[in-house]
């Protein structure tokens, strides 16, 4: 239950961040960071996908 609540809080936080981004315009600093290091782009997404897969596997195995 705690995990689900934390995920919901994190998702709500992300949605707030997106809303802020819409209000403030997309950050030039974020763009500079990506131009400087394209290989780091999307790492959060890759890590999340890996974690999701492991979480389901653990659940099925009763871990």
């Amino acid at each position: 239950v705690n995990g689900a609540i934390q995920a919901l809080i994190a998702a709500s936080q992300l949605i707030r961040e997106i809303a802020d981004m819409v209000r403030d315009g997309l950050s030039d600093e974020d763009i500079r960071v990506r131009l400087a290091d394209p290989s780091g782009v999307g790492q959060k997404l890759i890590d999340a996908a890996r974690s999701r897969k492991q979480k389901i596997k653990d659940f099925k195995e009763g871990a």
């Binding site: 689900a4 994190a10 998702a11 981004m21 959060k44 996908a49 009763g62």
Partner: protein
């Protein structure tokens, strides 16, 4: 709660799309917004998986596997398009950093193709966002 969150995520993506439709966005901004949209969709999918894990609690491993199977299929189905979209976004920023507009445009097109394969209930607003970026 999850339904509310998904609605909020869709509204956020729609707001982004509206913002970008007013012509004030560069392709860099659209690539960044696409990445943020992917993160929002990924978080919504995470929340759905967590909810299903709670709902599917059972001492019987076979029952757990049966119950979790539908969301597992959605999650597994999102895996390859997400990785392809990330690869395309990395290609975009690499090309953008090099000043290669042609390669950047092709990379965004690849991102659009990848995103089209994502489950629409979590990533529904994104194809239109990338379409805007690659429109001639």
């Amino acid at each position: 709660m999850v339904a509310t969150m998904l609605t909020l995520a869709k509204r956020a993506l729609l707001a982004l799309l509206l913002l970008l439709s007013f012509g004030c966005a560069t392709t860099d901004q659209i690539a960044l917004a696409t990445e943020r949209g992917l993160e929002a969709g990924s978080m919504a999918l995470d929340a759905a998986v967590d909810q299903e894990i709670i709902r599917c609690q059972s001492p019987d491993p076979a029952a757990r596997a049966r119950c979790i199977a539908p969301i597992e299929r959605v999650s597994d189905g999102a895996d390859a398009p997400l990785r392809a979209a990330v690869a395309a976004l990395r290609a975009y920023w690499t090309a953008a950093a090099a000043g290669d507009k042609g390669a950047a445009s092709r990379a965004l097109l690849a991102a659009k193709t990848a995103i089209a394969g994502l489950p629409p209930e979590y990533f529904g607003g994104l194809p239109a966002l990338v379409q805007k970026a690659v429109r001639p």
